[in-house]
Structures are given as C-alpha cells and as structure tokens.
Symmetry: C2
Subunit: 614 residues, 2 copies
C-alpha cells in the first residue's frame, strides 16, 4: 500500500531512526563535548513528570532532540558560534501540546492549513481519525489525506478508521466500506498509528464478526484501539470495555466518566468547539479528588473560527485552569498524559533528554499566551509570526473531487413530507438538540400542515431537515429538529457525518431547495440562503469536506456562515454547524436522520416522524 516509501515520513518511525543515527552526538552534547544547535535559556520548566515548576532552567537541544536540562547559569558551555539561542526571559516552557483526538476534516481545513494554526497555538502533535474523508471517498480519499497529513511539521498521527460505514445496520446509506482486509492492509502499511474510534458499539456487543475482525487485527499487531461509547448501560459498558478499547471521549457526566475510568479506559474530556462535556465533568473530578493520571483533554472537533480567534490546545488548557485545575496539572492533561496513553512518552510529552525538542514558551501559566513554539528543534512560531514554511500541500488531495448525484430531487416537493391536504396540524417526533452535547433526544412537537405538507414551525423552534443519498441517487430521509433556534433561512451542505450524504436544513422549504441547487452547482461545501437569496458559499472541494483555500480565506467564509446562523436566530452560531453535521450520525443516541429516514439509535430502526395528523 505504501508504494512511494511514505512510511519513512511517519512519526514515530522517522524520529526513532534519526535518534539512533545521532545518539553518539547527543551524548556528546549532553556531556558538554560538542556545541548544541539550540539553547532555550532561562525558563520556568513545567516539569510534567514531577508535577512542579523548576525555575532558571536552560534547555539544550541538538539535531531536533533535547539533550540536557541545566541550570541557566551553567549553559554557556553548550553555546557555540552557530548555536541558536532563544532567551526565555523567565517565561514558562511547556512540552508541545497534544490533541489526542480530533477530526481535522470538520475544521474545513486541509492538513497543511490545519497544521499552521495548530503550531501557532503551541500544539505540536495531533491524533486524527479521518473517518469523515474515508466515508466520503473510500480508500483513495483516505490515502490522499494521509499522505498530506504525514508530511507536515505538525506531528499528525493518522488512525485507520474502524467504522466505515459508521454502523453495519440497514438504517444507514453509506458510500464506502472498509472491510477487515482493508483495515489489515492499512494497519500493515506503516502509515497509521492505531485503530480509530470504534463507534459501532452495537456490533461489538452483538459480536459481529466484521467488528471483531477489525478489533483482532489491531490487537494482534499490538496497536491501540480508540473507543467511543456514549451513555452506556452497565451491560454495554462491561461488554464494550472487555474488548480492549483503551479510551473513550464520549462521556457527558461525571458518573459516566468515573465508570469508564473504573472499567479501565482512559477518559478523554472534550473541550472542542461544539462538544464541551469537559466543562461539566472536570470540575467534578477536581472536587472529588479523583486521580487524573488517565484523563486527557481533547477537542474531537474544532472550528476554523475558534482556531483563528481563540486558539487550539492553548485555549483548552486555559479553559481547564479557569475551571479550577492547577495549571501544571492542566498542562499534563495535554502533554505527558496523552503521550503515555499513546505509548510515545519516550519521544514527546515531556521536556527531557532524549525527547524531541517540541517546546512551547508561555508568558504565564494562566493567560496561556503562546510566545514561541519550537517543533523538532526548529522555531515554528515566534512573536506572532509563523516561522516555518514547509507546510506541504499534496496534489492528490487538492484534486479529489466529489461524487454528487441527486436526480431524485426534481423540485421542492421531493424534499418535503406530504401528509395530505385535509389536515392542518401534525404532531411530529423531532430530533431534540442541546447545544454543547452530542446526544440528541426525542421530542414531540406540533407543526403546521401547509398545502398538505408538514412544514417547519420557526416560531416554536422547529426546523425541517432532509438527507439525500448522494452515492446511489437513492432515498431522501426527512425529519424535524428542535433546539437549534433556526427561525429563518436554510443551509445545504455536503458534510453530514459520517456518511456525508447531502444535508439540507432550514426554517423555510423554498430556501432549502434553493440552497440545495446552489450546493450542487458549486459541487460541495455549505450554502446559506435566506429569502430566496444565497447569502454565503463555503466551498469544500476536497471530498465535500475540506477547502482548498488558505485558512484565512476559509475563516472569512466560515465567518459569513456564522453571521448567517446568528441572523437565523441560532443562540450559538459557532456550535450550530457541528450540531447540524451530526444530525445524521447514527452512533450517538437518541435519534438521527439518514437517507433511509428517521433513526431510533438504540434499536437501529427507522421510525416515522409523523405521530399524528389532524
């Protein structure tokens, strides 16, 4: 599978090779017998292993690796004419931050652009499960994404998506499938770090041979498996935790998180752009005095808006500190903890000899203002400026198209739910959304029937949603959504997680149809329409998920979308796109919609959204 020798670019492989090659010189530098490449002088070292701050330290590095920690007064012996010296001036030096679970695609940015923003915010490593691009375009798209990801100065550990399609049930209408054999070949390619979040917990509990085959493939190769287990009952928790899934990032309450810890899973708390369960759980963990050794902070999804305006893992650390966590502990939860979980603490996650020189200089430990970022011994960011230039875009990713085939929609009528001319009102089962959490609830609401069509009811916050099979010119699933606060306008988008069929949502059926046609014309992305007029176009030409443009341009397009959602009435216009995108995600309770129809997630059956008409 690795025809082009790409695996030599993959972390940690390249790092181990380089380390072994330069080990004698590293020891020489450590011993003062050879000058360093880089000395970061006089910092307050955030010692994440001992859980303390050590003052007046200089960090000595050579060939990308830290070789010595010395008292700032003793560092002159390491400095020669060609040594780069960064004066820390008493700032705090933390290990490069790690986001152990993020889907790059949902930022709308390709890996090269994502990497820039990550490094600017002190994040030097991410673990990404590209199941969105894999679901949208299969093996070809997955490999194109991976090839670009592993070429970045940001360490991008790519996972083999475990659930393409997301579930094995009949309720979904996926475009692509990764078989056990595909997964085995991917795991053997040397390009991937681990098996991505095993979302299809129902197949595990049901001992589905495909699911168990993928799990065995990973375990036999000694590779980690990420878990995904939202709101389990005791039996499901026991069954699922038996399989060796080593982490879960789906907890939404303190009890749920504690239960997973006790059941042997590492618990990832979300502080992303949309899912903020961490805010609910972390204060309880702190207050209860529970051990945080196996707790990690992640984003899961992060928007380009937040990346540009508020930061990345630096913001997560700041959020955790504001919730009452000791700053050194907060840094641990995004450095040594994920590094230990990932079994890479010999190379990253701690500022110590033998580790890569991934260093974040912070003006202080509360404001978390990033001053300088060093990655692999090179200055990546300094004083507001991105210093690196080697963010490689690959042509294979740029040129990925989008399958977009929806002849079933010939007019507005094909989108709508027709209940009959004789009625004036319908009681419907809507998807109830709550901002900040991934789970949805079944909510009964009333909508008007207009010309025989069950219409959205903007006044009582009931929007209408349709999902159209883009792969087989197949079905249209229809439903209602409440809780988003959409009181006017419509959106059409090619991101409907994780199968990425075409999703249209709105308070007005006519606007929805207009948006859909414009989306078809631009071939992928997000289109916003109000009063029959296109207000925003966010073009996502890479598999319908990611933009080909620089992050600054994507940011402005996404800002248009955010302003539009605010204008539509969404109380949290930044979170709304994420909530809309996962209306189609059948691996999180309680109710979703696919091209097959409205889905009861627990039973994985199709249900009728219309409960009653009169």
């Amino acid at each position: 599978m690795d025809k082009h020798g790409l695996k030599g670019l993959v972390f940690p492989r390249w790092a181990i090779g380089k380390f072994l090659e330069t080990l004698p010189q590293l020891i020489e530098v450590a011993g003062g017998l050879r000058k360093a490449d880089l000395v970061v002088r006089n910092v307050n070292l955030v010692d994440v292993a001992g859980g303390r701050v050590v003052g007046n330290v200089s960090i000595v590095a050579y060939s990308g690796f830290i070789t010595a920690l010395v008292s700032a007064s003793d560092d002159k012996v390491y400095i020669g004419p060609s040594t780069m010296v960064i004066n820390g001036g008493g700032s705090y030096a933390a290990p490069g931050f790690i986001d152990a679970h993020v889907h790059v695609e949902t930022s709308f940015l390709r890996p090269s652009e994502f990497s820039k923003l990550a490094l600017m915010h002190g994040t030097t490593m991410i673990v990404t499960d590209p199941h969105d691009i894999a679901n949208a375009g299969g093996l070809k798209h997955l490999l194109a994404f991976t090839e670009e990801a592993i070429r970045q100065p940001l360490k991008v550990l790519v996972q083999v998506p475990s659930c393409v399609p997301p579930t094995r049930s009949e309720v979904d209408n996926p475009g692509y499938t990764l078989s056990v054999k595909d997964v085995e070949e991917l795991l053997d390619s040397g390009l991937f770090h681990s098996l991505g979040e095993f979302m299809d917990y129902a197949s595990v509990v049901n001992r589905d041979p495909e699911a168990l085959g993928k799990i065995k493939a990973a375990l036999l190769r000694g590779m980690l498996i990420y878990g995904h287990l939202p709101s389990p009952d005791d039996r499901v928790l026991n069954a699922y935790s038996s399989l060796g899934a080593s982490s879960c990032h789906e907890s939404t309450s303190l009890d749920e998180a504690l239960g997973k810890l006790t059941h042997g899973m590492w618990v990832m708390l979300r502080f992303g752009s949309a899912w903020r369960d961490g805010e609910v759980i972390l204060p309880g963990l702190i207050k209860g005095g529970y051990d945080l050794d196996r707790v990690i902070l992640v984003t899961d999804d992060v928007s380009v808006m937040d990346l540009v305006e508020h930061g990345y893992m630096d913001r997560v650390v700041k959020d955790a500190v504001e919730l009452g966590l000791d700053p050194v502990d907060a840094v641990k939860l995004v450095t040594i903890n994920p590094a230990t979980y990932l079994r890479l603490d010999n190379l990253v996650g701690v500022l110590a000899p033998g580790r890569l020189a991934d260093i974040v200089l912070l003006r202080d430990l509360r404001g978390l203002e990033v001053d300088t970022v060093v990655v692999n011994g090179n200055v990546a960011y300094h004083n507001g400026q991105l210093m690196l230039r080697d963010f490689q875009e690959t042509g294979t990713l740029t040129s990925l198209g989008l399958t977009f085939n929806i002849p079933v929609i010939r007019g507005l009528d094909d989108l709508a739910v027709r209940v009959g001319e004789d009625y004036s009102e319908a009681l419907v089962l809507a998807i109830g959304v709550e901002y900040g959490v991934t789970v949805t609830r079944k909510v009964k609401v009333k909508v008007p029937v207009v010309n025989g069509i069950a219409a959205p009811n903007p006044d009582s916050d009931v929007a209408y949603v349709a999902v159209i099979d883009k792969y087989r010119a197949g079905g249209v699933g229809k439903g209602f959504v409440t809780g988003l606060g959409l009181r006017r306008g419509a959106l059409a988008q090619s991101m409907g997680r994780d199968t990425h069929n075409i999703l249209v949502i709105g308070a007005d059926l006519g606007d929805m149809y207009t948006a859909l046609r414009e989306l078809e014309r631009i071939r992928g992305g997000v289109v916003a329409v109000s009063n029959g007029e296109v207000k925003c176009r966010l073009r996502l030409s890479i598999g319908g998920l990611m933009s080909n443009e620089p992050f600054t341009k994507v940011y402005h397009e996404a800002k248009c979308l955010e302003d539009f959602l605010r204008y539509c009435g969404a109380p949290n216009p930044r979170m709304a796109p994420f909530h809309i995108s996962i209306l189609t995600l059948t691996v999180i309770p309680e109710v979703r919609v696919t091209p097959k129809g409205l889905v009861d997630v627990k039973s994985l059956t199709i249900i009728n959204p219309i409960l009653e008409v009169r």
Copy 2:
C-alpha cells in the same frame, strides 16, 4: 534460539492469543448471555485508575479474564451451576501486585520456588533481570533460567541482561560476555520482555560502540530499556537520560529522585531486603506534594528470610502506608503504575474488563493481610494455603553445575596482603559500607600488621575481603571493609555480584581459609566458619547462586547464616549478605574489589588498599 517453541508460554504473548480466541465469549459473559467461570462477590474494589475505593462490587471473570464489574446485588445473572463463587465478604480487592525490578537469584531460590512465595503474598507478576545467572554461566545458564521462569503461574517477565560483564573496563574479571549479536538474538527470540538495567553508564557516557549497539538493538525493536544510574552528576545524568533508558531504581535521595523524574525517567523506589532508599525518598515525595504517576515501588533484591517471615510486595505496600502514603496510592505504585510503565496496562495492573483476573483479596488496606490470591482466574492462595500445584522445575536448570577453579590459593598466605615483617601497623583504604544503601565510601582506617600481614581489625570493625577469579584460575583481589560490624568468623561464597567470582570475607584469616576450602568442597553456596569450625552451609548448586531445594529448606539454611552473622556482630544480619555480595559490583560508586584488586569506581582504575605502613 527458541528451539522448543517456548515463546508461546511467554507473557504477554499467550495472554493476547487467549484473549483474542475467547473474545466473543467474553462479550457474551459481560452481557449476561453466558455464565461466568468465577465471580468474586461483594468486595471493596481498589480502583487504581480513578484513585478511589468502590464498595459492594462483584468481579466477574471468564476463561482467566475479567469481563464485568457489577453491583454485588446484580451478580446473580452471571452465576451458573459451574461458576466458582468466592465470597469477598467486604474485603478489599486489589490488582495483583507487580515487582517491576527484582533479581530472583539473590533470593537463593530458583524461579519455581520464588513463584510460590510471590503468589502467597499477592504478587502476580515480576520483571527480572537475570544478569547474575548470565554472568555466572553465560548464555546456557541464562536460557535455562528463562525456560523455568516463563513456565510459572507467576508472570515472570525476563529481561535480556544488558551488561554481561557489568563493565567493559579492565578492572573486572568476568567469566562470560554477551555481545551485541547475542543481545540481538535474545531480543528476537520472543522469550524476553525488555533490555535489563543498563548498569554500565560509564560506557554510555563514553559512547562505547558495544554499549550503544545494545541500546540501539532494543530501541529499534521498540523495547524498553531499564536504567541504572547511581548518584550521577549533572552531565552524566543528561548524557545517560538522553539514551532513552526509561527508568532508574538507584536513587538514594529525594533530590536525586526528583532530578531523574524531571529528566524523563520513571523512578523506582527500593523497598527490598537490603536497599531501603524508598524509606528515605518516599516521605519527601509525599510531603512535597510531587506527582507519583511515574513512581514505582520495587525490591531489587529480596531475601528468602523476608519472603517467608514478612512477605513480598504486600509488605512493600504496608511499608509505604506506614510512611504516610494513602493506601490506594500505595497500591497504585505496585499495580497500575508499573503496568503502565511496562505498556501492559491493557492486560494487568487494574481490575477491569479485558484484563487478566489477577486479584488479591486483603482483609484491610493498612495491615495488608493477604487472604486470597487469584491468578489468571485461578485461586492460587487461600486462607494460608497455596492452592496451585503447577510450579514447574526444569531439569536443565537443576543440572547446571558450577565452574570452580582456584588453584592459586594453596594456603592462607595466598589470601592475605603481605606488607613486610618490619611493620606493625598499616593505614588502609577500606570499603566503607552503610547498611541500607548500595553506594560505598572510601574510608581510611588503621589495621595491625601481624607476621608481616596486614590483618583485619575486628575491634574497630575492619574486616578483610578477598576475591578470587574462579574462571581462569587467575588473580586474587584484596581489601578491607568497614561498617559491616563483623567482629569474628568468616564467610566464603560463590555469589559476588555480578561476575560471581569467589568472595571470602572475615575477621579472621584462618577462618576465611577454612571457609573457602569448604565452599570448594560443596561446590558453591555460602559457608560460615568460626574458630576453625564450619557453622553453616547454604548449598547453591545452580550456578553457585540458587538452591535446588524447596524454599522451606533454603529458609532454614539462610536462617543459620543470619544467626551466624548476628553472632559475628553484624547489627543487621539480614541485610549483611547483600552488602557482602555487592562488594564486588563495580557499577556503583565509590569503591569495590574484584580479582584485579581494589577498584575506584569513578575512574575505573585499580588502587592500592595499603596507604602507609610503619
């Protein structure tokens, strides 16, 4: 190297195979669809992941693996007619204890006998570096030891000894050498877990190609390297920690331990029979509020006396609790912490689904009285009785002989230091021993010259020591020792770490000679003599290090030795044998003795023990 297919017996290989084979059934049991093999009812679960105790839990296991943790009131669904039920009765259930660093040989017990005592005391896994037997007999002895070790119900993770001989310097006189190629073959054999403690730190700092070759061999294979770095200065600490040695168990002070943590090493604190640095360091770590995530408690060496009379890791936990450590934290330091360090926390170290059912039931968390021990789902120990029978002795280990060839000693005179008839007193550089710590100090003391021989001076606690090359009928190294408190008698022994030449020590030269001759007659072990009479014989026929006898018999022989040392005046007769054994160990400062003579460890040069005569 693995001609007999032994690697299938090695943990974790067998466990992963068994787990994958039974995964569907494990999920069935977890889900209540199939009855369990074993239910441990109603315990207080020591939750080492969350750092808490969870009451009223039942632990459900099948085919050796834990599959569910349930409320004690809900466990009936798991219990069928053939389910074994252990009523916990509210006792505390902890994960099986782990000793992450121990040399089995120094207990005088072979692996099968050691395993019995370990399991009786709640220890279900050890990591052992058999560098003693490898130094004593080379590859053949190492493999014979390993073959027996991996066959025990105690999980014995065997390491490839990295330093055979202990140093590459000329000051040692080893019998055997493991080359880089030997190490590579051993690492590839599938029989070993990791590379054992890299004691030869001088060769690392000097970038010796042999040393770096072994380190590279382990790192290329993704295997852990244990460190060993006593009392380093800053440069040595930086140089040594650059190499990726992931732990160190040699710290003797809080500052030293903190320095190693900051430099990225896991810190192992010793609570063994002789080295009690943990008692010095742990209270400081607790008081300072430092993080203990990367701290592990080990024994390094443990005597059969302590194993029988006081216990093993159960005693270590108790010691730590008595020093002020919270009991749950103390359990963590011998369970989940070492399991995480060893990258085996998916299989051991935590009582959670998917892990092996290695369970210790304790009456309480302070007295640490072990009631029941379950290993791999089988009851190993219950109510004072060892329940398992499968402690296999292997013939290859039993039949190992001992090279013992010392024709250079023809009489008492060949042992002694002759300074000349004209003198009456000598100022000598003695090896200064301090009970409880491994390092020695240079101490200047006066001894009488009797008939031209520099004699021991029992009245001022100066004993005499000689080390005789047993491999090449070569040299005799001579020196003096102070601090042991030996005021009469003599010992001869075939354990002189780590090269295991013949060591004789005593307060009386005549007794020393008698002891040596008796040791030659019994071909290995320890012989104690006083007033010309043999008082104890501890026969160690396996490579001169381990006994062929059951632990009960070895215990009685070791007790004789202890009583003898007490009679000789040793204030700590239980620790004394360990201190005597490492008088020859040239990888720990400050001064040692080998067949080449007295060794200054820092400079690795031979020095004259006689400073002045008059």
